[in-house]
Amino acid sequence: MLEEYGRILIAAALTWILFVSVDIFWRLPQKGGVSGAKAIGDMIARRGGNRNGGWMMGNIVSSPDASAGTLLAACGVFVAGIPGGIAAALLVFIGNRICHDPGFAGTTGALIATAVITLSTQFGFIPSDFIVGTVIAILTIQGLSLTKASHLLGRLWRWRA
């Protein structure tokens, strides 16, 4: 029981690092992308948050990004192993095109997450740890404090830019 909580926390930390670095690698904080993402970033900036961090959060809301890719890849590996993870990457790719997102952050995130989750099953993790881990990771970004999260993402973005 206690062991499962520990695994879930480690999985949450791993997925957080994974999707934030993939999103920043694909330059999600650089601009608003679609008009809705820009509006969310501007709203967070108006409340005292960081504009680049806010744009990244807007992009996460408006199109399936690496966090969605990680979640669906974890679901895919949970139900069908590696083929499930690849199917999830394909579904995220189709979702990106439906949402008018020209980027590949979601697809890359899903493929990397499939590899990470498959590897970590060798170390005693089970794929469901990563499903709940991704949900906890997205909670820390989108669900606790919009301004604080945007400052953290903005600081990471300045490091990359």
Partner: protein
């Protein structure tokens, strides 16, 4: 249901996101909390019913809800209000 603890955590986070979204007054600021709720529900769908086709259902739910959030946000962006 293979992992009860994981399912319960997903559902609790989904309920938390829904409560934060209802408590928030500005529509654009609600969308990130709705996003948290969608993550929780998509995870819970797969955890409650582990079957390959469930992946398609969860992806359809998640991508559909993302598209809706996208539509709401751009409608508000064009209108210029909050």
């Amino acid at each position: 249901m293979e992992s009860l603890i994981a399912t319960v955590i997903c559902l609790l986070i989904a309920v938390y996101g829904a409560i934060r979204a209802v408590a928030e007054r500005e529509t654009l600021a609600r969308l990130p909390f709705i996003n948290v709720m969608n993550f929780g529900i998509a995870g819970a769908i797969v955890l409650i019913l582990p079957h390959p086709l469930t992946l398609v259902a969860a992806a359809a739910y998640f991508i559909g809800s993302t598209l809706e959030a996208n539509a709401i946000a751009s409608a508000y962006a064009k209108r210029g209000g909050t």
